[in-house]
């Protein structure tokens, strides 16, 4: 039943990233009518600029660090105890703010 331009279908071919932060609308921007399927077929991955990469990474980390089943891996049990989310996000925050400056002032790479 899910045929035609059903967004989900695009997923199988684009086995890389889900769409990265598609602005649906609001603020007067016209909603790009292509569903996520088309949006997923972004140019070559290498072409995605730094800003976009960052955004996608944050969304990804939300999920792989705070989602997923936690099982007691023999190595990682104690790491999970330490609350990996906090550990890693601290790294992320400090790293990003080091790059961007305190005020998110400059956006590089044509973003």
């Amino acid at each position: 039943m899910s045929s035609g331009n059903e967004p989900v279908r695009g997923r199988a071919s684009a086995d890389r990233e889900p769409i990265t932060g598609q602005v649906v609308a609001g603020g007067g921007e016209p909603a790009p009518d292509p569903g996520p399927a088309e949006a997923a077929d972004l140019p070559a991955d290498e072409e995605i600029d730094v800003g976009r990469e960052r955004i996608a990474l944050v969304d990804l980390l939300d999920r792989v660090l705070a989602g997923g089943v936690v099982v007691a891996g023999e190595v990682t049990l104690s790491v999970a105890d330490v609350d990996m989310v906090t550990v890693s996000l601290r790294a992320l925050v400090s790293s990003v703010s080091a790059l961007a400056g305190p005020d998110d002032g400059e956006r590089t790479a044509g973003w």
Binding site: Q22, L60, V70, E74, D104
Partner: protein, 290 residues
Amino acid sequence: MAEPAPAGVWLYAVAAGAPGLLTGLTGVGGAQVRALTSAGGPRRNPQAGEPADPECAGGPALTAFVSTVDLAEFGEEALRRNLEDLDWLAGVARAHHDVIGSLAARGPLVPMRLATVFRGEAGVAAMLEERAADLSDTLERVRSGREWGVKVYEAPAAGAAPAGGGQAAGGRPGTGGAGGPGAAYLSRRRSQLAAQQDARRAARASAESVHRELARLARATRLHPPQAPQLSGARSPMIVNGAYLVDEDRAGRFADAVRALADRFPDVRIELTGPWPPYSFAVSTAGGSA
């Protein structure tokens, strides 16, 4: 001279039944992904190139998708250190996700939290057996659903009225009753702030409505903490960072709803991401943190 570091086993995901062919699927560190089938099904270990026989799929068998990692890099000590390294973390997160994304395109699975590492296959097999019921339940819960991410921000106009002039410090408040320039400034400033607060409150209410409406189309929802502006790259504050588990055949309706809501609530900006494998909904119910 250096002794070969002991090998660990990185776990990506668990699925039901026997695996399909995994040729060419590489994961963390570029290692070949392989499947370990256990519990209920014939325990076998199909290497790449050896076609898995679907007839062999035992009823409640579970398959773990794994690859070999070097414990010098992925052991407990090393993990602690490396998780603090953004580039390392990014590379590993993407590799982990790429494997899970590829596998999810073939069928339902339960993704594992990043950095689930065992000392050997035996450990994985033991875990599969021990957690079989729990994993099967989770698998059932996320089956045929895809995760969509919806981030709702204040629309740029909502909060940020341009800050007024810089002479605030000079103007002495409260001198004279009415009409001093200081008083005028203050009252202007006050109403400006009040307007900002109203706009912010309204945006918040809109975001909550958006979430409520979308939740009605979802089988489950989960709210992640809003991303900090430095991380999201957005200029305006994020209000809602939601994840929605949506049946595959409702994905179109969901996307339509997002668009309609964006039109209906112009004081927020909405971003849609996905579909994702059901990371946010693959949280274990048994054992561990509540």
